[in-house]
Structures are given as C-alpha cells and as structure tokens.
Symmetry: C2
Subunit: 127 residues, 2 copies
DNA sequence: ACTATATACTACCTGTTTGTATTATTTTAT
DNA sequence: ATAAAATAATACAAACAGGTAGTATATAGT
C-alpha cells in the first residue's frame, strides 16, 4: 500500500527500486520482492536494464484498495469467520456472526470504493 | 469472547472450568488463565474450593464487546495508525488516515454499543 | 482428612508477520 | 564490453499470536 500510494502521487513517473527504498525506508531486497509481486498482480510494470524501473501498468483510477490488499495478503482475514470456525454462515452463525457481517460489509465497501486516485495527496504528510 | 458469550446464555449459572473446557474445546490450562484474566478485569468472579466455579460479576447488560476485547488484547490494533506510523493524526495524517478513521469509528461504535445481552442466542449455533 | 475446585508461575511449541541477507542471473542503454 | 538496472530463489531472524504442559499452592464443602 505504501509503495503504490507513494507512486500514485506522480502516476506517470518511472521509479527505480533504489529511489523508493530511500523514500519509504525499507530494505532493498524486501522492496524488490514486493515490486515483483505487484508486477505479477498487474498493478505496475517493470523495465529491466539500465534506465529501467517501475511504473503503473494501468490507470490509478482503476486500482481499488481492495484489489491491492487482496493481492498482497488476501482478504480472508476480513472475510473468514471472526471466531475462527470453518463453517460459519448466516444460516449457521457463530456467536459473533450477525454483528460481524455489518462491519465486514462496511470494510469491503470502503476498500472496494476507494481507489488510488481518490487519496488526498495534498494532505498526506507520511508515506 | 467465546467464553463470555457462552456463559451469557445463562448468566446466573455457576460454570466450572472443567465444564467450559469441554464445551469450548480449549485446553484446561489455557482456559483457566483466561478466566483469571477475566476475573481480574471484573467481568466474572470465582469461588474456589469444592462446588466452586465462575459466574458473572456484573449484569451482562453492562458488558460491551469493546470492554471485553480491550481488556483481553487491547484496542491499539484498531486505534493505532493503520500504516504503523507512531505519530499520525488528522493534522499530520498518513496516506490511509482519512479513509481509516471512518472504519475505525464504525468499529468502535459497534463494539461499544453491542453488549453481551444483545446477542441473539436463539440463532447462534456455534460458540 | 479428603476431595474438588481455583490460582500462580514458568516454560515451551507452532505458525505467521514482517521483514533482512546472500548469491547468482538476466536484461538493456551506452 | 560495461554498467545499471530488474529477477529469482533461498535462507534466516525477530516479534508476536495463540495456544499447550507441568508443577505446585491455596481454598472450601463434606
């Protein structure tokens, strides 16, 4: 999220791994691994070799927070049963089910509706 | 949560550790540790010795899900900055701050407003 | 006294998250 | 050719969550 949001400030720019590592304060290897994952997920594309780097593979207007979270860590933490039961549904609910579906839906809605282009870059002071 | 919700079905009853261990499928030692924590937090009270056990220390109408979660694991996971920055506020927001406050408030509200007595015990099929 | 119960403390285990480190390979502009 | 860049695969490490296990002690009803 931090990488993509940082890049979304200037979506047309080409960013090198080295540059992003400095800006975001993470290790080189870790960032590169994430970049490769983000490439495979289709959010960004890479150009190898000298003068290479990363840039968005599609319009940032078309990238929701939901898609990003889902591709990086999956949405199961949010959408699985909050008490950990394998089989838990509205017809066979756990003790928290009915309360949790309300929250779950709110979160899914927020993440699905918010796109990288919706962020207020004027206000953000940390990436 | 599972323990307290189970007990809330019959809030006046005295429950032994052994009984709850069988009903909730957790280890004896683990449950006892949790019970001691819940006692210290004031949700339940214990009577030692033969014919002892646990029962609620106050009305279940007065116990919100917020209080329970807060006493067991703290609410910092929810209320700290979602991107992990130490100093993150509305005047100094991280990239996700403005989106996250909406969710945060919704969750806090739900957990604060829902009390053990509000659960629909008729419908619940797993504890 | 005996027995059934809770308490306390400590150590351990297993998996996950959130990264870091190492090493070697491939690609491309100049 | 060379240098600057991305790629790939693997191992490691620290912190934390979610438990389990052991052992000994305290309490209270009969």
């Amino acid at each position: 999220m931090r990488i993509l949001i940082y890049m979304a400030q200037k979506p047309e720019e080409l960013y090198t791994a080295k540059f992003l590592v400095e800006k975001l304060n993470v290790s080189d290897k870790y960032l590169r691994r994430l970049m490769t994952d983000l490439s495979k997920s289709g959010f960004i594309k890479s150009t190898q070799g000298r003068d290479g780097g990363y840039t968005f593979a599609k319009e940032i207007h078309g990238i929701s927070l939901y898609e990003v979270i889902d591709s990086v860590e999956g949405m199961n933490k949010l959408n699985d049963c909050v008490l950990g039961f394998d089989e838990c549904s509205c017809t066979n609910p756990c003790a928290m089910h009915n309360e949790w579906v309300v929250v779950r839906e709110k979160l899914n809605q927020l993440f699905t509706e918010t796109r990288l282009s919706d962020l207020d870059f004027e206000r953000i002071s940390r990436y």
